[in-house]
Amino acid sequence: MTKPLPTTWLVGRKTRLRPIEPADVPLLRRLGSPLGSFDSRWPAIAAVDPLRPAYVVQTRAGDDVGVLALAVAEHRARMGIRWRSSRRWLDGSAIDAIRTMTAGAFRALPIVRIETLAASDDRAAIRAFQRAGYKKEGTLRESFLRAGSHRDAVLLSAVHDG
């Protein structure tokens, strides 16, 4: 018998976003925080903090393929995504998950802006956000650490015109 899919209204054409649950902690620890700085407490924080909602990205069939999180502050939010496999940036899953989360967040939260940071050499991620409707706003120089050195990040955003 097929296991029923958890209920969520964040459903796109290719992906569905279900709230994280305690059983997801091993996956979350493995993938790390989608919002940059690693904090081992983040799964617990994301599970209960309404300003840091996090979701497991599933295929429509129910396979867990990634984690997506928002951090809301004032009228803005920052979005981050981690995938089990980087091919998800390319196969349409990323575009669909980003579109679904962005539309849901603008529908449900009092925010007018969602932004994200992508490593400036991560063309697949930048392209996925752009195809999901995000606009490139600029490049923040030496704004994150990778392999012990500061790297540039591209800042992209979606804004709500309402």
Binding site: V112, R113, E137, L140, R141, E142, L155
Partner: protein
């Protein structure tokens, strides 16, 4: 321990902000003189000014012992440290006091705190401030859309940064 920094135009100096500055800070912000260029819009109480987010460093800008503005370094929104500055007395703007304060804060950020980056946000219409920041070596990085709400509408913010390596070239230690 932070110390006073002297040598600014018109005898201006930066003094570590303390409880003795709270009333003057409250009056400066509550006058509305910087409401158009800072996030502080509505008048607030002395208690509100004394509490709130901790700055990494915060200085009162004084001229002849009178507080005329405030500046500071905060945890960066994106990376490194974020620089903020407000000069309350309009007659004291465009006289180099802001440039002096920004240069001094950058020296503190890079030489004392060893930050690799200082960043700041400014309204794109604030040409005087953008010129002053550029003079200190800041470069434009991004235009943040609908970032602030002011005068009944959402406004964009220009994000600028100065990197330690650029500062070292411009201001060798």
């Amino acid at each position: 321990m932070a110390r006073a920094i002297r040598g600014g135009p018109l005898g201006s100096r930066l003094v570590p902000a303390s409880s003795r500055h709270v009333a003057a800070l409250r009056d400066g912000f509550n006058s509305g003189a910087v409401a158009a260029t800072t996030i502080w819009r509505l008048p607030r109480s002395t208690v509100a000014f004394a509490s709130g987010k901790e700055a990494v460093r915060r200085y009162a800008i004084e001229v002849e012992g009178r507080l005329v503005g405030v500046c500071g370094l905060w945890a960066g929104r994106y990376a490194g440290l974020e620089l903020t500055i407000a000069i309350f007395d309009p007659r004291l703007r465009n006289l180099g006091i802001g440039t002096f304060a920004v240069s001094a804060l950058c020296r503190i950020a890079f030489a004392d705190i060893k930050s690799h980056r200082v960043e700041l946000g400014v309204y794109p219409q604030n040409a005087g401030a953008i010129r002053a920041y550029a003079k200190c070596g800041f470069r434009r990085e991004a235009l943040l859309r609908r970032y602030m709400y002011h005068n009944g509408r959402w406004r964009d913010v220009l994000w600028m940064s100065l990197l330690r390596r650029d500062w070292k070239i411009a201001s060798p230690m």
